[in-house]
Amino acid sequence: MITKRTDAWVAVASLMLAAAAATGGTHAALANTYLPNVVVQTQDGARVRFYEDLIRDKVVLINFMFTSCTNQCPRTTANLVKVEEQLGDRLGRDVRMISVTLDPATDTPAVLRDYARRYGTKPGWYFVTGRQKDIDAIRQRLGMREDTNDLMQHTGMLVYGNDATRQWAATPAFAQPRAIVRSVMLLMHRRMEK
């Protein structure tokens, strides 16, 4: 269904891209393709497209976690809760937080919903699950390319960026919340300017 169509579209788009890149391409032709547009499920059970529905035209912070992770992830999530607090009412409006589970088999939407409730996260922070291969595609695309059974290896990094300006960077997910917000805000200026 949707998923299949998306895959086909991405495949076609890749071909177009090679051509578009070669000719200088247009923004519109390429806009959908640089991050996976796979269908994922949020903690509310909603089916959304990862790029178009969650990221397009937004400033986003993306990290990877899994609910059964007991050492680092809870600290990291707690740290990101502080980031959420400091973002204030910008969260949801201009900025989104996306936590992608690395263990989609365990972390169903219901499990993620419970996890989010436990941390009292607000709207604008999406916990995302999906098919394993789609999750892997998202992870690899964002630069965590190692396929490893040690899921922890992907939980330390926070990728942040502004889709509208295509500016992306990475920082430890456990960095000082104040520093994370400061960095994100600098990219956000560009968004609000539009």
Binding site: A11, A13, A18, A20, A22, H27, R141, T171, P172, F174
Partner: protein, 647 residues
């Protein structure tokens, strides 16, 4: 050279890359490696040489601390540099490329010279070269603190980058003069500190600005515009306060300030320690990689009475090393291009970005006609993540390799030359200077071609691959073309003496009283950590060395086999131990120049599992500095920590 097929073979396929094409348009090669850059014929463009930075009229709208403590208009020199977006040629067969670069704002600035077919475009890739002279400064002991010390450089950097830029890189800038010994406020700190962090700074007489990052025109957009200044960008637009920062470089030997101000009872001057090959580049937090890759880099060459930039110097105690036009800086970079000539970069490659085109001074695989005499080549690895091992050879498989004499590294001239080097390893931000004598080839006819070849394979940003490529199968960086009849003698008054700039190793007394610190670089959950703590918190110092106190830092790479060149700002260091033993210089292939008494360094490569003990003494300048990995993608992933020098 890395072809696309090789890249596939090396296992880079299927990982998904993001490509930023022309004007920041984003494209993506799904399930495949990055496409190869368009083909370019090697060695058809001449090696470009960046022009010298020229003085401008003095200006006095400067920070109050500069005027009170430092600036004397009779002895201080003034310069202005803009960061701008411009169009250059990287190769005559490649369409023009939009880059970010430094531009000399002197009305008399010359375009780059020797650019051959690159000439039609007005500017080149590298920024203007700063030429500094040390050693002629007289400083009066215990001078009154009410008199400015004078001398040195003021460089006003102005950010004229496009504020509406889209794509990799962020048009905010901060400039680090790499290898310099100067004030914290002029060191290119990566980020503006917020008020809480500023309030906690040590008491710095030179002050530390609230806004250290230069904003592009009209930024920050949600704040009232800062006041208009008298400066203009190259496009004649008005410059506002937040777009510019004045960097003051005193050009004084470390420890001299203690004499001038009588601030230390036992002044420790390292006389004439500074002349070296340095460079300046963008240092913006999280974005140094893309910003420098876009072109924000330039050379700084330093001289003094000994290394006097004149092989015909009548002063007989001068070293008479090969001097211009036989003294040639060579910035090595690797980049990747789209078919339309635009730069390609992968924002999500956190391991370290590698290009497939090799550039010297901003030209892809150029050539240089050489006379049959000695040349001094100043190598700088200005790449984001590639490490090179460079050979001088005839380029033929199974052919001949020739030797070079190493005379200097980041810390300037070695105590003595290391002659007969077969190859040298150069990691990001390191500098090595080699003398090559082309008079050694009487059997080679005019027109014979010789090469600088990188034979170190590297297929990802973590570290080079194992082994060496066979001669002729590596990356040929530069083609030398021998000119002139082999039997006709070419004038060459240069020499490489057996003693260059000798200095004593650190005394046992200093080692005994050194304060010891240990920094363990680790990779934890895919992010960088230093001493078990996630790295990158620049609001708080990880160490607060006391000014003048000897320190020994144990730097340990426990990051699972990755390689990291670690750069410590503000002072050169002495390498006491590598992996528990004093380093040696006996190897010739590759030649090693790092042991104390022979060399000083400011960047040191830690291979997987390596550790080094380095001796440091932070003299003169108080305040926040940083140390970090100079793989720029690692640096941008917060493999960096702040230290504050305190009184």
């Amino acid at each position: 050279m890395l072809t696309r097929r090789n890249m596939l073979k090396l296992g880079l396929a299927g990982s998904g890359y993001v490509i930023f094409g022309p004007n920041g348009v984003v494209s993506f090669a799904d399930g495949d490696s990055l496409p190869a850059s368009p083909p370019t014929t090697p060695f058809i463009d001449e090696l470009p040489l960046p022009g010298a930075l020229l003085e401008v009229e003095p200006f006095f709208d400067l920070p109050e601390q500069y005027l009170r403590l430092w600036i004397d208009p009779n002895t201080t020199r003034f310069f202005k540099i803009a960061s701008e977006q411009r169009v250059v040629k990287f190769h005559s067969q490649l369409p023009p490329t939009t880059i970010w670069g430094y531009r000399d704002l002197s009305p008399f600035a010359e375009p780059s010279v020797g650019a051959g077919s690159l000439q039609p475009l007005p500017y080149n890739v590298l920024g203007p070269t700063l030429l500094q002279n040390f050693g002629s400064r007289l400083v009066t002991p215990c001078s009154s603190t009410s008199d400015p010390i004078g001398g040195g450089f003021v460089i006003r950097h102005i950010n004229c980058l496009p504020p509406d830029h889209k794509g990799f890189g962020v048009p905010r800038t901060t400039v680090h003069l790499h290898g310099g010994h100067h004030l914290a406020r002029a060191d290119g700190f990566p980020v503006n500190l917020d008020k809480a962090a500023l309030d906690k700074l040590p008491d710095i007489p030179d002050g530390f600005p609230q806004f250290i990052v230069m904003e592009p025109p009209g930024w920050p957009p949600n704040e009232p515009p800062s006041p208009v200044t008298n400066d203009l960008c190259p496009d004649h637009s008005v410059v506002r306060e937040r777009q510019r920062l004045d960097y003051f470089y005193p050009l004084l030997d470390p420890g001299v300030l203690d004499v001038v101000r009588c601030t230390a009872s036992t002044p420790d001057i390292e006389v004439e320690a500074r002349p070296s090959t340095q460079w300046y580049h963008d240092h913006l937090l999280d974005f140094t990689g893309p910003n420098a890759y876009r072109g924000l880099a330039g050379f700084v060459l330093c001289f003094d009475a000994l290394d006097s930039n004149d092989e015909n110097d009548p002063n007989l105690s001068a070293l008479h090393l090969p001097s211009p036009p036989y003294d040639i800086p060579l910035a090595i970079q690797d980049k990747r291009f789209a078919a339309d000539g635009s730069l390609v970069f992968s924002t999500f490659d956190h391991d370290g970005f590698l290009g497939d085109k090799f550039l010297l001074n901003g030209a892809i695989q150029p050539y240089l006609e050489v006379k049959r005499r000695k040349y001094r080549f100043r190598f700088l690895n200005a790449s984001n993540a590639r490490i090179y091992r460079i050979f001088f050879n005839d380029g033929n498989p199974g052919g001949q390799t020739f030797t070079m004499d190493m005379i200097a590294n980041e810390g300037g001239l070695l105590s003595r030359p290391l002659r007969g080097a077969v190859s040298f390893l150069i990691s990001m931000a390191e500098r090595y200077e080699m003398v090559i004598d082309f008079s050694k080839f009487p059997n080679l006819a005019a027109g014979t071609k010789l090469y600088l070849e990188n034979r170190l394979p590297q297929s990802n940003g973590r570290k080079p691959d194992d082994g060496l490529l066979p001669q002729g199968s590596g990356n040929k960086l530069l083609e030398f073309r021998l000119t002139g009849d082999p039997l006709v003698l070419v004038e060459d008054n240069s020499e490489v003496r057996d003693v260059l700039r000798p200095f004593d190793p650190i005394s046992q007394a200093d080692i005994d009283r050194a304060y010891r610190r240990s920094f363990k670089f680790e990779r934890t959950d895919g992010a960088w950590a230093i001493n078990d703590r996630f790295a990158g918190d620049l609001d708080t110092p990880i160490a607060t060395p006391t000014r003048g106190q000897p320190e020994i830092w144990h730097l340990e790479n426990s990051s699972g086999g990755w390689w990291h060149p670690i750069h410590i700002h503000s002072e050169f260091f002495r390498v006491l131990k590598r992996n528990g033993r004093p380093p040696t210089d006996t190897a010739r292939n590759p030649v090693v120049a790092e042991q104390d008494g022979l060399a000083r360094k400011d960047t040191i490569l830690l291979k997987g599992g390596d550790s080094v003990d380095v001796f440091l003494k932070f003299r003169d300048h108080l305040g926040p500095f940083v140390f970090h990995c100079h793989n720029m993608e690692h640096e941008d992933m917060a493999m960096m920590a702040r230290f504050d020098v305190i009184p």
